[in-house]
């Protein structure tokens, strides 16, 4: 359960998202406390990834508000009307949110190191030497110190994803969004990436929203799981509870299918 003493790091208030006639999210309300690790589980098409994409401003919500640390992020109410917040103000919130993608999305025209230092230098204004030192620390942390000068295209999928994680962490995000980060990997490479993420969960207090099919991992790192279906949260509970005795029929069906 979210700690009521702290301001929630993320709040969705009546968020709706449609693609044409397809209603993906419908009046979604939920919040995540700072430092929480919350897996979003549920069948594909249930809107989990859309939630991450809305938080990263890769999509625009049609209704409702999204708040980060209690402050409106993409839209706000002004005189009873919902208005878009200008790009400059969004950017200040956005740089505190990081995302790791299913397909890694590393920049192939840059070396591993250049991928990691690009945003700290050009967004946060970190001096280059400092950014490099930080990037080397992060590469150490994800076990790729020796790949510093490699081209991304020379790396395996698992290695690329670990670089992508290091790249996101280099921005020192308060919120980290993980969008099926192991789904595109060969099975033998999944463990390394999950190991890195476990380590981050243990050693930092970054708030994480995790869309994943790795139920064991979800169970280990979180203290609260949200089960989605049809753009709504149909069940939310402690991982032990949801994985051992799910209440909702759809949750039971879903877990039977994936476990």
């Amino acid at each position: 359960m979210p700690d009521t003493a702290t301001k929630p790091a993320i709040q969705f208030q009546g968020v709706g998202k449609r693609f044409g006639d397809n209603v993906v999210l419908d009046g979604l309300d939920f919040s995540v406390a700072a430092g929480d690790r919350v897996p979003l589980i549920g069948p594909s098409g249930s809107g989990k990834t859309t939630i991450l994409r809305l938080l990263m401003t890769l999509e625009e919500a049609n209704d409702g508000l999204i708040l980060v640390d209690g402050v409106p992020y993409t839209h706000e109410m002004r005189g009873g009307k919902r208005v878009a917040i200008p790009e400059k103000r969004r950017s200040l919130v956005r740089r505190r949110v990081g995302m790791v993608f299913q397909q890694f999305n590393l920049f192939p025209n840059m070396s591993v190191l250049e991928n990691i230092i690009e945003a700290p230098i050009h967004v946060l204004g970190v001096p280059k030497a400092e950014a490099i030192a930080k990037a080397e620390d992060l590469l150490e942390k994800v076990g790729l110190a020796d790949k510093r000068d490699a081209r991304c295209t020379q790396l395996s999928g698992g290695q690329q994803q670990r670089v992508a994680i290091a790249r996101a962490l280099a921005m020192e995000p308060e919120i980290l969004l993980l969008d099926e980060v192991t789904s595109a990997l060969d099975p033998e490479l999944v463990a390394d990436v999950l190991g890195v993420l476990r380590n981050i969960a243990e050693t930092t207090d970054i708030t994480m929203l995790i869309v994943t099919h790795e139920m064991q991992f979800a169970r280990e790192v979180s203290n609260r799981v949200l089960m989605f279906d049809g753009g709504k949260i149909i069940e939310e509970a402690h991982p032990e509870e949801i994985f051992t005795s799910p209440k909702h029929e759809r949750t039971q069906e879903f877990l039977r299918a994936v476990l």
Binding site: T57, G98, N105, F107, V123, M171
Partner: protein, 213 residues
């Protein structure tokens, strides 16, 4: 000595052809630099999605592409009499080819996966920085063969400059032919010199295409 080919005429015309070839290459290089830069600007502007700019730029591009290069050259030369013909010619060649190059760039930009833009947003990279450091380096790599092919094509269209009195290689051949009532050697050699430059260049472009593929 046969009537068809005379080595004396060939030797006599050769120096002026080489001089003309210099002008031809110069016009191609300057024209291509203009086309490469302007084409890129047009491609980026047309992608900006700002109607107030994309519409007029789009109209201008269509207008330039729908009228012959020769007409544009003569018209511009009449309009800008204060500039040397060679300068007007290079500018018109450059602008004309910029409209084609912009399409090559557009294809190159479209070929950059959507995930690259999304990763840039996720890192909060500003728009301009995203273009400069992420999108264009990947897009331009894909456009190098196109750039090469249009350079060859422009090189072969430089004889149109003769119509605005720029003495490039074709005009030099014509001048010799007119002055000596003898065209065969001059025109043949001019053609061979064109071939001598454009064929190796096209091999180079093909190698580039294979390496990128």
């Amino acid at each position: 000595m046969n009537d068809f080919w005379n080595w004396d005429h060939a030797a006599a015309v050769f120096p002026s052809l080489i001089k003309g070839l210099g002008v031809t290459v110069l016009a191609t290089v300057i024209g291509m630099v203009i086309a490469a830069i302007l084409g890129l600007l047009v491609a980026v502007v047309r992608r900006s999605g700002v109607r107030a700019v994309t519409w007029p730029v789009g109209f201008l591009v269509e207008f330039i592409r729908s009228t012959p290069l020769l007409v544009q050259l003569v018209f511009a030369n009449l309009l800008f009499t204060q500039f040397p013909s060679l300068a007007v010619g290079c500018a018109v060649l450059g602008i004309h080819y910029a409209t084609y190059m912009s399409e090559v760039y557009r294809a190159g930009i479209d070929a950059v996966p959507k995930g690259q833009w999304e990763a840039a947003v996720a890192l909060d990279l500003p728009r301009g920085r995203t273009w400069r450091d992420v999108i264009l380096p990947q897009a331009i790599r894909n456009t190098l063969p196109g750039l090469g092919n249009y350079a060859i094509s422009m090189f072969k269209e430089t004889p149109f400059l003769a119509f605005i009195y720029v003495v490039e290689m074709y005009a030099a051949a014509q001048a010799y032919g007119g002055g000596n009532f003898r065209y065969m050697e001059a025109i043949t050699l001019a053609g061979l010199l064109f071939l001598l430059v454009s064929y190796p260049t096209s091999l180079l472009v093909r190698r580039m295409e294979n390496r990128l593929a």
